[in-house]
Structure formats: structure tokens, C-alpha cells
Assembly symmetry: C2
Homo-oligomer: 544 residues x 2
């Protein structure tokens, strides 16, 4: 990467007294880059929506629940009167609004497509309450939808569920500078929240590729993990409170802004990761850390997965409290990004593995000293073969794009079978090798168009033992799918892993929960679902 | 404090080039001090148990639930056969074992005392399952008990509940060096777990004064907060999995060791902080951070609460990722410790407020540089009046003892009305002032024995906006109690605070949950309690 600092040179420099300069901007105004450049948007894929196969066809064993009512013009009239504004209702029942509705009926991966004929966009918690109460009383099924950036079809209707979209609930309600607690509506876009916080020297404790489109309510309801969980922890720890509406219209006001509150069962936790199946989150209160004054990024190539593991342990020990990301990308994933973007890879030569390390701290000089000591160590011990260190904001963005660009690059190449799994660290990459071998032996993998599978790639959040196994296909193919599933789930089950680390269950994995949860757990989960949603109207056909 | 480094001297030194030496031992074997010296033990207060008033007398409106069966010798025979070992059953039903049972019948504060006649100490999850199943079928009420170090009477029986004590379930099941995940039985003592981790360069992400006695199962079931929540987050974030037994004997095996696992409702969260009311936690899986290589402690005096707030904001900004504790102690609390221990206070002169700051990091030199810059800043701006910096392990312990010794010192002076509350930071200390004024106006506060109230003191975890309001009394007095309650709860409710930040509800606060939770939340909580414990046998008369 032109201008980026080569690590070998850095190493040579490290032997002599180093000038103590911050290599990254340290202004508190722009300590972390905004991610507009590295976020994808959903809209670009909308025009081709109609070519997407209906989920009801792709999953023929999923049948519409006959207990649910069919939408009538009377229902629509009720909603129009209730929500008032024209823009709050997209009516495909009384009118032909299919073009307007299609973007809400499918996902950006072009994998899931529903038959919804009504989209509602309430603007307040009270409106959500009235909508859900009416739906519950009239047995109208509902699919909650935020930014619709999910990967498992959780926010897309399957049949004619009403889409309850949170995009018009997008106010930041409050921020307290002393405590760092932000309270915001569910429909606030993650990047908007983070920019608001950036202006106040704070950071949203979650970051992910879909930042420019996803809603924080969706993030919480799917328990999103993302790029810096390693540093800022899970939403189960950082979410202090939330407001949600149960199917019967009950408003659950648990919007505490207190860091500690041991007064009864922590009910809000049930909504975190419940994918809209027991209620709709309308607002979130979240603990936000001070924005780091210094951020550094290094990108390097490694010869083996064993060395990746060694590098990770060294980073944990030496970078410790300033380590904010340790991302893994295999060689194939990086070549795919290179093919799609045409960009030159950051390091010369080809390696089977690449890692991206980010540090975030309060003192640029200290951080750089720790990072250099770490790099000196891993390079002198032969753990890291070659690498670069970002010298400015542009390079910071550029290096991150090699990690964050994988998902989008894959989407340009055709379809992708995506598996987001947790596996004990030592076997993390073995799944990719085994899957590639299996599909190759079955004759599915090849370089020309006669083979359905283009590549088997692996990348993910090494720091969280979270692998994204992606099988890039030229076309979706039932035979390929059958060769992967349930084999992949059995592979994970044997290692006590999780079949969904951070993407959730949605419709894609609803059948496979048994590979990661025992019968007792599933029974207890169904009991909870029945308790809160006895009519089953919330996000049906999904989750469990 | 003799030998400790005075900050004024430190400041003068800070102007000239500083020798880069670590002021604390940096050996990975003993980076954080063990807390044997600073932990209290429960046993010392046991001999006088019989003088403690029965809870049933102190709370005459709490009546024994007539649906519960009375224990018979037949029940005892069943448990003896089931648990086998002599040491597993203390039988006060068939025999007079009251001397042996009394320690389990009361709490270390000598505030709560039950009428239990049977103590069971199962040694495995299966035994717990069989015990609870039998109790549920026979309508025998149960009180789960770990180290019995609670402050709200949660682990002490009220009437004749069977004490289900976890002390014999005390094995560490596994520890994974690469991920830092510890799996241990509920009855492992917190300090034992932490020492085990210390030998493996890791840290238990929770620390509190009762460390030498409390069980990790009890910590999780009460969602303990403690001294370093500011740094390591709440147990809702760090607990990765748990194993628990429901009242009907169902074993909930959710003992995942994965950092990320989005496969269904996160049921384990319900047990965290549920105080044994829906089941008994038998094992815990928890994410443990690397043990910091360098730990520093500073203690200083300040002239006003406004300056305490300024110091805290400066610490958050400047110490940021290495700040591991910011504790507040008022002048009265420190004089009480001085009176009881006879020790010389760490700083000369009297101040209305004292703070203890701890940093934990991976590089002693960097940490000291940050700490010195912070201290230079707060002293040159006149925020901090005077202070000391620990120079070695002994001084580290000594400084912490001024914070951790408050609870025990108070217990030597008579009784204490304890309120553990969350309040927005700006008004945190106002509660102490207002309470003192109220009790003084009522003529309760004075220096000689004719006054029931000795002192109104405040201390706590500034970093979490968590205040411990303690009214030290020469004798428990209903008039004093009436002057404090519900006034104190109304005061907190007006500020949207929490009436229990970290100590929980137990029996002490069961009536007052309405001050921090609305009716809907209480209704939903009762619904959950009924779902999991329809007979209400788990820790009755408490919580909600």
C-alpha cells in the first residue's frame, strides 16, 4: 500500500531511538474514522428485487399459519387513521403499491423475499403499542424491521406479515456527558448515533459493516457483536435499559440509565437477541465509553493458522487494554476483494492468512510504543511474515476495507452460503479447510462457470473465536446446500461451538438450534415465547 | 502514611526527567494483591448469633406461607439417604442440632435470623436436582445459601425453610488459557477462584470486600458489582454460561464457554441477579481478563463534592482504559475506620471527601506516566488538595483498607442501616447530607449514648454512580428506621435512581421495589416467578 509504513522498516527503525510522534490524528473531534466510506447501503440492490426467489418457495416445508387473519381494507383503514400521516402506511392491500413495498419484502443479499402487502412506520412508542394491540386482537402477524441489514432473513416477511418498520422512530432522546449514557429511539441508524457521540467525545460500543444502514434497535434485538466486542463487551453488558412493546400492546418501560440496578429480574435481557419474537424494542439506553484519542491499525500476512494463534496470544498479552480488534482474513478472501475492487493488496506477496489489529487508547505515544514492541516481537520471532501500519486516516480506512469489504465483494460475485459460528480457537480455521475439502471431493469447486462453487473462504473476529465461513457460489444450488448442511452444524456441535455466533437464527437457522442448544433449553425458550406471545404473531416462522 | 509517596513531592519530581521505574511489583505471579488481609470472615460473629432478633419478629407482617409443609423426620430420612454423607445434612428435626444450625440461620451483620431446622449440603448438580424435585413435590420451602455474606437478608431463612448450602460444590471444572474462560462450581469461594486465576496470569472480573467468604454462585445470583465494575463490566456481560436447577428438578445446562452465541433467548441472564428465587445456580462459566501487569493506587483528600466530580471526569478522560477503580469515601467514614483500627490516616489534615483511584495496565511505565500526568493536572488545578501514591504491595493493601475497612469498622460500632443506591452523579452525595440533616432535626444524632444515631456516612463506587448510605446506630431503633424509610426511597425515586444498586432486594427491600420499578415491570416479574416456581418454594418472603 503506497505510503503505508512497512513493518520491516518499522522494525529497523525500532532499534534506534524513535521520534515520539503520533502516527494517527489525535484530535478528539475525529479520533475514530466515520464509516460512511466503509458502510454498504441497502438501496443499491433494490431494483433487482423481483428476481429474488420467494422464501415460501425456497422453504416449501414452511406453511402459512392458518390462525393468522388475512389483511382486509378495513384493517388498512384502521391503521391509516391510527398513524395519521400518509408516509406512515404503504398500502398494498387497497392499492397496488408493490413497487413501493418490494424493498421491505426482501433482503440486501437477495436471498429472502416475502409477500407482505402492508408496511407500517409508526413514529412513537404509543403508536407501536396501538398497532401491536390491534394486530394481536385481530391475529395479524407482524415482522419487526429496522435497517433490514440482517444475514439470516430475520427482518423480512415470509408470507403476508405486516412489516413494522422503525425508520420513523429516529430521535436521540438524551445523552449525559458525565456518565456517557445515551438514550435513543430504536430507529436511529448506528452511524448517526456514533457520529452524534463523536461530537461529544464518546463512542458507540458497537461497530459493524452495516453501520450506515442498520438501526440500533435491530442491533440490540439481534445482539449484534461486530468488530470491537473484544474491547467493549457484549450488548448484554452495555445496554443499561430499554423500552419495548409486547404483542398485547403493553409498554415495557425499562429504560433505566443507571449502571447498576439490582431491583428484580433483568427482564430487558430477554429482548436482547430475541429477534423481535416477543416484542418490539422502541428505545435503548446504552453505556458509551469515552472516544479513544489514538487509534492505530496494522495489517499483516502470516504463513499458518498456528502463527495466527500465536500472534493473537501475543497481542492479548502485550496490547492488552488497548487492543480493540483482532480480525482474521484468509488469503482467498483477500484475493476476492482484490478481484472485485481492483485495489493493490496492502502487503507484497501472497500469504494464506492475514490479520488486522487495531489499538485504541488515550495516549498516542504509549499506544505506538506498545504496538511497536508487539510488532518487533512477533516479527523477530518469525510469527508475522510481513505487514504495514496505517500512517493516516486514509490508510486506516484502506486497511479496514480489506476486512470490511469481504461481505460486499462476495455479494458481487453471485450468491453466498454464510455460516457465522463460534468454535474453540484452536480449531477455528479447520472448519474452512474441512468444508473446502468436502465440496472439492464432491466436485462442486472450480474456476470455470460449470462449477457451482467459486470459493470457500473464512474470516472473522479472531478475538471472539467467531468465524465467518462463506461458500461463494455462482448460483444457489440445492445440492451444494445439502452437502454443507447439516454437515457443518454437526461439525460445530462436536466441538461444542455455536451455529450462530452473532448473526442470529432468523429463518435460515431456525431448524438447527438443536445443534447448539439442548432440548431443555429449547423447551424453556418455547415456554417464554408462549408466555409473551401466545398468539405467535411476532416474527413467525423464525427463531425457534 | 509512612513511606508512601506524597503527591506534592511527586509533583515536584514530575517537573524533572523521571526515572522510569515501576513503583509496583510487576511479576505476573503477584500483580494484584491477594485479599486475604482485607477480607472479613463470617465465623467471628457466629458465637453471638442467638442474641439476634428473629426476622419473623422484626417483620411481623410477614407470615409463614401455610401452603408449605412442615419438616418431618421422614423428610430428613429421605435427604440423608439421598445425600449419603453425614456431613451433607445438619439435622435439627430429629435431633437437637441448633448450635450447628445457628450459623446458617443468621447473617454476619446480625440483622436477620431464621428458624431453619435442616441444612443440606449437596455435592453435585444431580443431588441439587433431586433435593429440589423432592422439595417441590412435598411443598418444602428452600433458601439457597452460598457464603452468606449478603447485606439484605437474602440468604438467610425467615421461617423454617431448608437451607440449601453450596459450600460442598467447590470444584474448578476447567480453565482455558487461550480464551480466558473459567468454569467452576457455584460454591467456589471468590478469592479461591481469583488465586487460581492469578497463578495462570488471569483475573476474576469481580472483586469485593467479602471475597474471602462469598461464593461465585452467590455473586452471580445476586449480580454482585463490587470494586472494579467500572473496568471489567457487569456479570451480565462477563458470565458466558451457567448451570442451574429449577424448582422442579430440571437441570438447565447453559454452561457455554463461547464468547458469542446467538441461538435463542439468553435465558441464563434471568438467573443473574434473581437471588435464588427461580432456581439454584450450580456452576458458572465466566470470561476472565488477563491479569494486569501493573497496578497503582492513589488516595487523596478533596475539599468538596464538586471537586470529587471534577476529579472523576479528569480520571475518566486521562486514565481512560487503565482506570480500574474510582472510590469515594466521606470524611466521617474515614474517621470511623481510624477510630476502630487506630491507624494513622494516609493524608495529613482533615478533608470532607477522600477518593481512592486504582489503575491496572500492561505497562508499568506507561501507567505511571499517565497517573502522574493526571495527578499533576488535578493538583495544579486545585481539584485535589493532598494525596499519596502507594509505593509497594503493603501500601497498596493499606490504602485499600481505608475503603474496604468501612463496612467492618461500622459493624464494630453497633448496628447499621445500610442503603445501597444508584443516583445520577451530580446528586450522589446530596442524599447523605439530606439524610443527616433529617435525622439531626429529629434529634436522633449525637455523640453520647443517649442518641441512637452515631453517624451518617457515605461512600461507594463513584465510577458507577453507586452510593452506600450508612446510618451507624448504637442500637436498632424503629423510630430511626421510620424516619429513614420510606423517605430515602422517595428521595431516590424522585431522581430516577435505584433503591438497590448492587446489594439486591432480599427481605430488606422486597416491599420497596415499586420505588425503582413500575407496576408493569413488577407484574412481568411476578409472571416469571410463577412460571418457574409455581409453588413458590424458592427463597420465599423475599425479592418481589
Amino acid at each position: 500500500m503506497s505510503g503505508a509504513r512497512n513493518l520491516s522498516a518499522a522494525l529497523r527503525r525500532a532499534r534506534v531511538p524513535r521520534p515520539r510522534i503520533a502516527l494517527r490524528p489525535t484530535s478528539s473531534q475525529t479520533p475514530l474514522p466515520t464509516t460512511a466510506a466503509r458502510s454498504f447501503t441497502v438501496s443499491s440492490t433494490v431494483q433487482a428485487t423481483k428476481e429474488i426467489k420467494f422464501t415460501s418457495d425456497a422453504y416449501p416445508n414452511v406453511k402459512r399459519n392458518p390462525n393468522f387473519a388475512e389483511l382486509t381494507p378495513d384493517h388498512v383503514t384502521y391503521f391509516k387513521e391510527l398513524l395519521g400521516s400518509q408516509s406512515a402506511v404503504i398500502d398494498g392491500v387497497s392499492t397496488d403499491a408493490s413497487d413501493d413495498i418490494e424493498p421491505f419484502n426482501s433482503d440486501w443479499m437477495r436471498k429472502y423475499r416475502g409477500h407482505a402487502r402492508l408496511v407500517l412506520k409508526p413514529q412513537s412508542t404509543e403508536e407501536v403499542s396501538k398497532v401491536l394491540k390491534y394486530c394481536n386482537e385481530n391475529k395479524l402477524a407482524v415482522v419487526p424491521q429496522g435497517g433490514n441489514t440482517g444475514l439470516v432473513g430475520g427482518s423480512v416477511p415470509v408470507f403476508d406479515e405486516i412489516v413494522l418498520n422503525t425508520s420513523r422512530m429516529n430521535n436521540i432522546r438524551s445523552f449525559d456527558q458525565a456518565s456517557g449514557v445515551l438514550v435513543a429511539d430504536a430507529g436511529v441508524i448506528l452511524e448517526v448515533a456514533d457520529q452524534y457521540l463523536a461530537e461529544r467525545d464518546h463512542l458507540f460500543p458497537l461497530d459493524l459493516g452495516a453501520k450506515g444502514s442498520c438501526h440500533i434497535g435491530g442491533n440490540v434485538s439481534t445482539n449484534a457483536g461486530g468488530l470491537r466486542l473484544l474491547r467493549y463487551g457484549s450488548l448484554h453488558g452495555s445496554v443499561l435499559g430499554l423500552e419495548a412493546v409486547l404483542p398485547d400492546g403493553t409498554i415495557v418501560d425499562a429504560l433505566s440509565t443507571l449502571r447498576k440496578n439490582n431491583t428484580g429480574y433483568d427482564l430487558k435481557q430477554l429482548f436482547i437477541g430475541s429477534e423481535g419474537t416477543i416484542g418490539l424494542i422502541t428505545a435503548v439506553s446504552i453505556q458509551c465509553p469515552p472516544r479513544p484519542k489514538a487509534v492505530n491499525v496494522a495489517y499483516f500476512g502470516l504463513e499458518s493458522f498456528d502463527q495466527v494463534q500465536q500472534a493473537f496470544l501475543q497481542a492479548k498479552g502485550q496490547l492488552s487494554e488497548i487492543l480493540s480488534a483482532f480480525e482474521l482474513m484468509d488469503g482467498r478472501s483477500q484475493r476476492l476483494v482484490q478481484e472485485v475492487t481492483g485495489k493493490k493488496q496492502p502487503v507484497e506477496g501472497e500469504y494464506p492468512f492475514y490479520c488486522l489489529i487495531e489499538t485504541s487508547g488515550s495516549n498516542a505515544e504509549h499506544d505506538m510504543e506498545k504496538l511497536e514492541a508487539f510488532l518487533e516481537n512477533v516479527m523477530s520471532e518469525g510469527i508475522v511474515a510481513d505487514g504495514v501500519l496505517a500512517q493516516d486516516e486514509t490508510q486506516f480506512q484502506a486497511l479496514w476495507s480489506w476486512r470490511e469489504g469481504i461481505t460486499e465483494s462476495l455479494s458481487h460475485l453471485g450468491g453466498t452460503y454464510k455460516y457465522d459460528v463460534s468454535i474453540p480457537l484452536s480449531e477455528l480455521y479447520q472448519l474452512v479447510e474441512d468444508c473446502k475439502q468436502r465440496l472439492t471431493e464432491k466436485g462442486f469447486v472450480g474456476d470455470d462457470d460449470s462449477f457451482p462453487v467459486r470459493a470457500v473462504v473464512g474470516y472473522g473476529h479472531m478475538g471472539d473465536a467467531n468465524l465467518h465461513l462463506n461458500v461463494a457460489v455462482r448460483r444457489y444450488d440445492k445440492e451444494v446446500e445439502k452437502a454443507i448442511e447439516p454437515w457443518v452444524y454437526e461439525w460445530i456441535q462436536k466441538r461444542q461451538g455455536s451455529i450462530s455466533a452473532e448473526h442470529g437464527l432468523g429463518i435460515a437457522k431456525r431448524e438447527f438450534i438443536g445443534y447448539s442448544q439442548n432440548d431443555t433449553m429449547v423447551k424453556l425458550m418455547k415456554q417464554l415465547k408462549n408466555l409473551y406471545d401466545p398468539n405467535g404473531i411476532m416474527n413467525p416462522y423464525k427463531y425457534i
